[in-house]
């Protein structure tokens, strides 16, 4: 499919879309004018697609420096009467939460929708937090699509709901919804034509401090209004056809309540096993549709609640049973029927249902002992730093410097951060000892430097530094903390698929943009030692680390070299291996651990399809066995 179809496609047209692409179509159908994000998987593709389509779709789109800024861009657009959209991964909500919480109080004028993508089973995240808690914390409505069509439809509906009640609305996906592909039928597109010299429509902010400035006198009233809205919306959730029943039971004894991807597994297990269980699907799960749920429960003896990650609907179901004085047994996460963590699938749901319903036949398969041995012995295939990745050179170099300074690995704490460079956790680099969140490597450097006598090496990427590395760096300087901060400036937001960031001269719509200098920022924060180095020059890397470790202040080293995945880079030819010079020390294969170098049948082999001529291995080999490839 050509992505432009998302803009030009007519109502009734069908496309096979990724959940994240369906979200973009929903945004376009809703006539959004302003969209902002900080990239985070599993929501990243929404930004990648919007980045390409924004101008055709009359949308202003930016990659904001972090999720809080993105939230503020969306909130002010909505306060100015425009429809606005912000989206992030679940942990992005933590960053955005300070402004998000108050947006619930002040409300909106144009529709405002926040898509937050949860990551059960942590495919690419540091925790499994459940966005649905934020809906309850801030007291805003939340929708839970279970497939691509629903992503599109619910995003669109969320804007209408938001505008009707002047309240921001959350759409919660999970990895399996964002990264599902399915057939999506398009709907009508709401007009969002530009009324200005820009390609997007401009709104107008009508001043009203009683609505938009939460000083105590006003904020108290705002909280009252918020509850008023939520009570009205609860009447809608009780009637909404997003909360619908699927009847499979002849005998009304067992029921099942489910949402999002967990609903898909539950539905398939009930359907394909012919179970006597009715299903209530909650697509609009907060404000909790207590009347509808009570109606579903009233004739049942037992009910299953199937949801990922936290037992949220389960607790609301228990509350409903208490409030309505019903006598129904609840099977969910709290009684151990289903796991309290990790994503579900049909097997997990079937196992849980089977504990009560006993329908499964024993279907254990047994293989020959040779196959079982093969399964145990196959090599793992973990993701690694790419051949030619500048981070590898830095990790190799810092470990050399540590050794040359007579330090032991236990004497140096590696405070890592969120990005490809977290892969430095793996041997032989062992360069990640502590990690909390985006930007935490800098604050962690502050803490370790006063709490221990160990040296601290903090590593952060360029985009992560802009995201939340700057204010802790000011803290480090002002409070006289002693550590070495390396900014791995690879000229892109690499881990999430290569989005631009303020360090490069391009913005989220592909236009030219001012380049913000990390070096100048570090100097402006007050750092006396700031060095910009070429990571592929090993001697310089080692020398700079030696200098930096011997200082007693906050030293900043900026490793500046583009990510090898950036398209259009000029690369040197692959390295040549001169077998006769090799003395079999295996330093290249064991200590550098580049995926382009392997040892096959006792010889070092360069995989020329992978090697991109970074030439670091040449500097590692003392015997001249590895040599620069010929042009």
């Amino acid at each position: 499919m050509n992505l432009k179809e998302l803009v030009t496609g007519a109502a009734g047209e069908k496309q096979f879309l990724l959940g994240n692409e369906a979200a973009v179509r929903g945004v376009i159908e809703a006539g959004v004018s302003i969209a902002a994000t900080y990239p985070g998987t599993p929501s990243s593709e929404i930004g990648n697609v919007l980045s390409v389509l924004a101008k055709d779709a009359n949308i202003y789109f930016e990659f904001s420096t972090n999720e809080k800024v993105a939230m503020e861009v969306a909130a002010t657009a909505a306060a100015s009467g425009l429809r606005s959209f912000t989206f992030m991964k679940h942990v992005g909500m933590n960053v955005a939460s300070d402004s998000f919480m108050t947006t619930a109080y002040s409300g909106v004028k144009g529709g405002m929708v926040i898509l937050s993508a949860d990551d059960p089973s942590l495919f690419s995240s540091q925790n499994e937090q459940d966005t649905r808690n934020y809906a309850r914390l801030a007291n805003v409505p939340i929708l839970e699509p279970s497939n691509c069509q629903e992503v599109k439809d619910m995003v669109k509906y969320a804007f209408d709901l938001s505008e009707q009640f002047n309240i921001p609305v959350i759409v919660r996906t999970t990895t399996r919804v964002s990264h599902m592909r399915g057939v999506v039928e398009f709907g009508d597109v709401r007009d969002n034509s530009s009324n200005s010299d820009n390609h997007w429509k401009r709104g107008h902010f009508d001043k009203d401090p009683s609505k938009f400035v939460p000083v105590p006198a006003f904020a108290g009233e705002m909280h009252v209004r918020l509850w008023d809205k939520i009570h009205k919306i609860e009447e809608i959730t009780n009637k909404s056809d997003l909360n619908n029943e699927f009847n499979f039971a002849n005998d009304k004894k067992y029921g099942l309540i489910a949402s999002s991807s967990a609903y898909n597994y539950a539905y398939d297990v009930v359907k394909f096993n012919g179970l006597d269980v009715d299903i209530l699907k909650l697509g609009f799960s907060y404000p909790f549709p207590q009347e509808k749920v009570a109606e579903f429960l009233k004739d049942l003896d037992e009910v299953f609640v199937v949801e990922e990650v936290d037992p949220i609907i389960e607790k609301d179901t228990l509350t409903t049973i208490g409030a309505k004085n019903l006598n129904v047994v609840v099977h969910g996460k709290l009684d151990g029927t289903f796991p309290l963590y990790h994503e579900f699938n049909s097997d997990v749901v079937a196992d849980g249902l089977n504990k009560v319903l006993n329908f499964k036949e024993d279907s254990s398969t047994s293989y020959s002992s040779s196959l079982e041995k093969l399964q145990e012995d196959i090599p793992s295939r973990a993701p690694v730093l790419c051949a030619g990745c500048p981070h590898r050179a830095m990790y190799y170099g810092i470990n050399i410097a540590i050794e040359e300074l007579g330090l032991k690995p236990k004497d140096v704490i590696f405070a890592s951060d969120i990005g490809c460079y977290t892969l430095g956790i793996n041997p032989p680099y062992n360069a990640a000892d502590y990690l909390l969140s985006m930007g935490s490597s800098v604050g962690d450097g502050c803490g370790f430097s006063v709490s221990t006598d160990q040296k601290v090496a903090s590593f952060i990427g360029d985009s992560t530094f802009f995201h939340s590395g700057i204010s802790p760096l000011i803290n480090a300087v002002h409070n006289k903390h002693n550590f070495v901060l390396t900014v791995l400036d690879n000229r892109i937001t690499a881990m999430t698929g290569g989005q631009p960031n303020p360090g490069i001269p391009v913005d989220g719509m592909g236009d030219e943009a001012p380049e913000v200098s990390i070096r100048k920022l570090a100097l402006a924060c007050g750092c006396d030692y700031v060095r910009v180095i070429n990571p592929f020059n090993l001697e310089q890397v080692v020398k700079t680390y030696r200098e930096a470790f011997e200082r007693d202040d906050t030293a900043v080293i900026i490793s500046k070299a583009p990510c090898t995945l950036i398209k259009g880079l000029t690369k040197k030819p692959p390295v040549d291996m001169i077998e006769s010079n090799c003395n079999k020390c295996d330093k290249c294969v064991n200590e550098l651990a580049c995926p382009a170098i392997s040892k096959i049948d006792g010889s070092i082999v360069i995989d020329k399809s992978q090697c991109d001529g970074c030439n670091v291995c040449i500097q590692v080999c003392k015997y001249g066995a590895l040599q620069a490839g010929k042009e």
Binding site: R176, S363, I600
Partner: protein, 194 residues
Amino acid sequence: MDNHYNIYICGVGGQGIIKTSTIIGEAAMNQGLEVVMSEIHGMSQRGGSVSTELKIGGYNSSIIPNNGADMLLSFEPIETIRGLDKVNSETKIVYNTHPIVPSSSNKPYPNVDEITKTLKENFKYVLPIDGTKLAIDAGSVLALNMVLLGAVTADDNFPLSKESVIEAMKNNLKPKFHDMNLKAIESGYNSIKG
């Protein structure tokens, strides 16, 4: 259960697995079938294992249950072994015999003939093909995914026609590669049918 068909596709980042799956999904949609697919993003460019799951028929869930695949289509020998949770005694196991040795593991890479022998001891339909060679013969190693796409269409139970798969391929890939891709699809098809 007519037209229900589950394909588990696995291999290594960069082999074109997601594109192959999308083409099959789009072809299913064009034939008026219900189809859902699951894919995992994020680490795919960094040499990790990659898998997608395609379910044709009236499924809500895009994840294939254990032992629920009609076909295991593997782009790499040891990834076949990693995907065995999804197969049952009737599953067609089609795999490329060309290994990609992981750099990050200290376990030795098993002998590919041994893998084939062991699989044949345990399963009825074990169909190894030298997809990488067929791709190179068709014009480029990058056409491996088209060879394997052709191999899928050769299964008698596969509910889509070769023509609709080819149509979807043309809709998803650049015209300048169409001739090479058609050649690769044919050679993959013939390697199973022949």
